[in-house]
Symmetry: C2
Subunit: 219 residues, 2 copies
DNA sequence: AACTTAAGCGGACCAGGGTCCGCTTGTCTC
DNA sequence: GAGACAAGCGGACCCTGGTCCGCTTAAGTT
């Protein structure tokens, strides 16, 4: 019924094996049967498409199932629940980001100082989350899920690495979580939408925060 | 059916007028009819009670209505939706906290330095939220609601005031939100529960963060 | 090619949140 | 005290997320 093939990776490389960077404990990834893999990508495509055209809040699970030409049970079997579907959708969207973080040009990628890279990282994430905010907010229904998803783990690992490189003296794990707390969609969206702050201002807040950890003495 | 009168303020002062401190734009508070006010408190009592005995996740709206001897429609009329009920329940729980913040003994109340008061504030909030974490997490389903509730506004105003007193040079509004971001239940709970950090460690992280804004030059 | 079987499928079904609207009841006025 | 009327009430009803279980089928095995 609907099928405009939105920005999603090619169906054939999608045999259920996570396309992660083998960075995090992603588990064995049991490899789906051919039909299941096909349905999986169709479901994600349809979901992305419907979300884009009427906002994810106005898309039911049954809509998605129907759009992909499968039964509702299939959707839940594959993704567990609504949140699971959303989290996987977001994973897709974040994959392009990830590569620019660890292999793109500076200041995002290697080559700049850790502090600069952290600043750039924050700006990118803020803009990215804002662009997909309805999806992030919807996925946020069960925050623990999102926090244990591969993309979030990637962010953690990335920030932790940069902090270590910057020789931050404090409790690195804790600081990592603190920094990512600032980038939480809920907070960013609140600042931008409800409090009417500009993206630049929120970004400046991020860089300021980073600076206070990476050693620059506060003014 | 159930009615152990849990820690809730006396029913008669509960005529729907918010018992706020007239600090925030709380609106006119239209004053409920007598029967409505009675039902309101009974509903909150029953909700608190059921939540305490089996966890809020295992309490349906119908349970609450039934326990209070009213129809389901009444519950929704009063609180709008499930989140609304939870938010109001939390408001009750936070009221005792609030008074210790602005009129209790130091270091929480007036008398200590702003930085000390901020540290103490954080510790208190962390412990309080952890104690009621299932309620906070449940209310978090719609984060915007919680963020615009009177208790959250109170926290904002309080922290903002202390930052101003401490003559913090940065973007005060933004820093206020940043700090409260650290205290977000979702984050704190993640650190304590999933990452197994100790409360002391999380508190130390808070004080460290506060210190980096209130001027102490980072090591 | 036939057989086996575990994975996948689908749609009937259930539960709980949220809505609606005709009836009831406090409360205010005269 | 009687009347007017807004506020409150309740439960039938709807929608959607999520479950269940008997049937189907892809993909190895011989």
């Amino acid at each position: 019924m609907i099928e405009p093939l939105p920005p999603l990776r090619a169906p054939q490389d999608d045999h259920g094996g996570r396309t992660d960077l083998a960075l995090m404990p992603t588990g064995p990834a049991p490899r789906l049967r051919a039909d299941a893999a096909r349905n999986r990508t169709r479901l994600l495509e349809v979901a992305a498409c419907l979300a884009a055209e009427r906002g994810i809040a106005n898309v039911t699970m049954e809509d998605i199932a129907q759009g992909a030409g499968v039964g509702k049970g299939t959707v839940f079997r594959r993704f567990g629940d609504r949140t699971g579907l959303l989290v996987e959708l977001l994973s897709h969207y974040e994959q392009q980001l990830q590569s620019s973080f660890f292999s793109g040009p500076p200041p995002l990628g290697p080559g700049a100082s850790p502090a600069e890279r952290l600043c750039a990282f924050g700006s990118t994430v803020i803009r990215h989350e804002h662009a997909h905010r309805d999806l992030y907010l919807a996925a946020h229904a069960e925050p623990g899920r999102r926090r244990s998803s591969p993309p979030y783990q990637f962010r953690l690992a990335h920030v932790r690495m940069l902090l270590r490189e910057a020789r931050v003296g404090a409790d690195i794990d804790l600081v990592t979580h603190t920094l990512l707390g600032y980038l939480e969609t809920v907070l960013v969206d609140d600042l931008l939408t409800r409090h009417g702050m500009s993206v630049e201002r929120v970004e400046a807040g991020w860089c300021d925060l980073v600076g206070r950890y990476t050693g620059r003495c506060p003014a």
